[in-house]
Every structure is written in structure tokens, then in C-alpha cells.
Amino acid sequence: MELHVDIISPEKPLYSGQARSVVAPAHDGEVGILPQHAPMVAKLGTGVVRIRRAGESGGETVDRFAVRQGFVQTAANKVIIIAEEAISAADVNSAAVSAELTTLRQQVESHQLKGDEQDKARARLAWLNAQKSLAGA
């Protein structure tokens, strides 16, 4: 028994295919989904989706996507992840991400930013970190 997984972002559908299991970053921690999961709708946090599927030449492959702001829905062995921002490991521009990460981290740590800006910067940091962790592995 397998799952059917779709990852949909506003600008285009990103992924559609069969999978053995999915791990999604829910708002309060990761949620693992195997076939026969109970119907569920959960809010996503910022993080990495891992899709484990049968590899082309036997074994298993894991596809990874960074996602931000969205939902994961599962019902009848279908998993649908919709996210306002989503990017696959191959599309991450790791140089640009690292550069922005360094400057932003400095700003946050030196407390240059006020209230609202600080929150925004932290959210952005989380998103950059998620992308970086994709590029790293």
C-alpha cells in the first residue's frame, strides 16, 4: 500500500507521485504519515518535507522540499501539502541563502531591529534555515 503525495504551491504544482511515507513539519513538531493514516488537516510550520519512495533501481529515495506557511491534508491514502512557499532541494540557491542568512543572523543577534521587524526577521531566518538544510545534505 502506498500513499499518493502532492505538493502544491501558488505558482505551480511542485510534486506529484507515489510514496511510502511522508514526514511534514507541522506547526508544533514533525508529523509522520504512513498509509492508512486517519483523515487529518494540520497547519504547517516552516521546515522540511521528506517524501520516502521506492527508488528507480531498487532501494529507497528521499525527496526533500522546504515549505513555509501552509497545510497538510491527508485522507484515503492521499497526502496533499499546500504551501504559500515551497522549494525543492534542487532549486535552492545555496550561495544566496547562506549570504542572506549570515547578514540577517547578525542583525537579529545584535538587536538592531525593533519589535515587528524582529519577528519578521526571525520568520525569514527559519525559512532560510529550512532551505539551507536542504542544500547541505
Partner: protein
């Protein structure tokens, strides 16, 4: 007579170069149209899914009381958001959208409401400003490839106005993309959000795990829905604009071809008349010498 021939030649040449330009614009619009159409199609699964999810969550939330879907008892201030293009030469595209927006403006004013207008696109801005409308905000930086960020930048201030009570309703006027063959200006009340119908009127629960609570889910879902709707308006408007420009430029090119044919015929006739006259003069001259 020689003067006349020269005039016709100059005219023909200028029409031909205009035709070259309109033909190029037609081709450019055609290729942009294809890409814009792809964007419209690529955005639709997300939109459909978000709408479906919203329906499910609303159905399970029972008496939902989120400020973005709550209807106001008394509507005294209304905002209109008009989506137009930055450039002209696209037939009635801009004019039709602007006319629709003005109709809504008048309707709302007749209801005794205070109306403010936000405009996307240079064409809408200049036309409405010239006609004496006061514009609240204008967004001119939207390119032929609208991004989600553009949608956010447009909708967020309006959403904040709505939440602060500075406006009670928001109407969006844009050119709706029904299909390649059919686009027309359309009006939609975007705020408060029209939640998908909840048939039973009661909270359904138990058959789906909702995490976190429906109220909290709505808190994230509704702003996402707004942004997405705005994005859809932008891509649809852009695709419609390209179609309108293509059609306009195609008919301009056709007209130019027709004009060139007419002018060429006129030129030949004039040239022939000139030759005939010259022969007549020569013959006449020879006859006079005899």
C-alpha cells in the same frame, strides 16, 4: 503630378513601417499570452485545493467567528480595487475594466456609502485621476510576470484597513479569464470573505483530525486565501491583457495591409495617368511640328 506620386510613396512607406511595428507587437503579445496562460493554469490546482480546504474547515468550525468572514451589520465605507495594465495599445481592455469600476463606484455611492479606490496599473491610475477621482493607493510596479509578493503587497494594506474597520467591504474589479476565447471584466466582493456554504449549519467533527483548532486554522487559511485570490486576479488580468493586445495588434496589422494594397493601387493608377499624359504631350508636340 510628380508631387502626388511622391506623396503616395511616402504614405505607403510609413504605413508599411507601422505595420512592421504592430506585427511585432502582435507576435510579442502572442508569446507572452502563452506564458501568461500557463501561469493561470499552474495557479488553479492550488486555488481549488485552498478553496476546498476552506470549505472543510468552515464546515467543522460551527459558528465561525473570524473577522475576515464576519459580515458587517452596517456598511458605510467601501473600497474598490481596480486591476488594469501598465501599458495601452490593447483595445478596450483597460477602458472596459475602468468603466466597470466606475459603475460600481456609482452604485455604492448611490447607496450612501463612502467609496475609496485602489488601482493596480498605470492606465487605470492616469485615467481615473484625469477624470477627477481620488485614488487611495496605486500599484505600478506589477510586471508581466506577477509574483505572489506583488499580490501580498496589494492585498495586505486593504486587509489591514478592513480589520481596523476603515472599510467594511472590498470589491475587486479585474478582467476575468474564462478561457482563451473569452475574457470580460468582473466584480467580486473579496472582503468579507464569502465562506463556502456550510449545508448542515452545524459543526461536523470526529471524522477528521484538525490540528490546531478550526479557529486557529482559519486564522492562517483566510489570509492565505486572500493572497491567493489576489494572485489569481493578477495572473488572469495579465493573461487577458495579452490576449486583448494580440487581437488589437492583429487587426491593426490587417488594416495596415489593406491600406498598403489600396495605396499601391492608387500609386499605379497615378503613374499610368502620368505616362499617358506624357505620351499625349509628345504626340501633341510632334503633331504641332508637322
Amino acid at each position: 503630378m510628380a508631387e502626388r506620386l511622391k506623396d503616395i510613396r511616402i504614405r505607403t512607406r510609413s504605413v508599411a513601417s507601422t505595420k512592421k511595428i504592430t506585427r511585432t507587437m502582435e507576435l510579442v503579445a502572442t508569446s507572452k499570452m502563452k506564458r501568461a496562460q500557463d501561469r493561470v493554469n499552474a495557479a488553479s490546482p492550488y486555488q481549488a485545493k485552498l478553496h476546498e480546504l476552506l470549505g472543510e474547515v468552515v464546515a467543522r468550525a460551527g459558528d465561525v467567528a473570524h473577522p475576515l468572514i464576519a459580515k458587517r451589520d452596517k456598511v458605510s465605507k467601501v473600497a474598490i480595487l481596480l486591476v488594469t495594465a501598465n501599458r495601452g495599445l490593447c483595445g478596450g481592455y483597460n477602458a472596459n475594466a475602468i468603466r466597470t469600476a466606475k459603475r460600481i463606484y456609482k452604485e455604492q455611492q448611490d447607496l450612501g456609502r463612502e467609496v475609496s479606490i485602489d488601482v493596480v496599473g498605470k492606465k487605470g491610475m492616469t485615467t481615473l485621476r484625469f477624470q477627477g477621482y481620488k485614488l487611495n493607493r496605486t500599484h505600478l510596479g506589477i510586471t508581466d510576470r506577477p509574483a505572489l509578493k506583488d499580490a501580498q503587497a496589494i492585498i495586505e494594506p486593504l486587509r489591514d484597513d478592513f480589520l481596523k474597520g476603515q472599510i467594511d467591504e472590498l470589491y475587486v474589479v479585474w478582467t476575468h479569464w474564462k478561457s482563451l476565447a473569452s475574457q470580460a471584466p468582473k466584480v467580486l466582493r473579496l472582503l468579507p470573505i464569502e465562506a463556502p456554504a456550510n449545508e448542515s449549519g452545524k459543526a461536523r467533527s470526529g471524522d477528521i483530525i484538525l490540528d490546531p483548532s478550526p479557529e486557529e486554522l482559519l486564522g492562517t487559511l483566510l489570509p492565505m486565501y486572500l493572497t491567493q485570490s489576489m494572485y489569481t486576479f493578477l495572473v488572469e488580468a495579465n493573461a487577458s491583457e495579452q490576449v486583448a493586445r494580440r487581437t488589437a495588434m492583429k487587426s491593426a496589422t490587417d488594416n495596415a495591409s489593406e491600406m498598403i494594397t489600396g495605396l499601391t493601387r492608387k500609386l499605379n493608377r497615378a503613374r499610368q495617368a502620368q505616362i499617358t499624359q506624357e505620351i499625349a504631350e509628345v504626340v501633341g508636340g510632334a503633331a504641332a511640328l508637322e
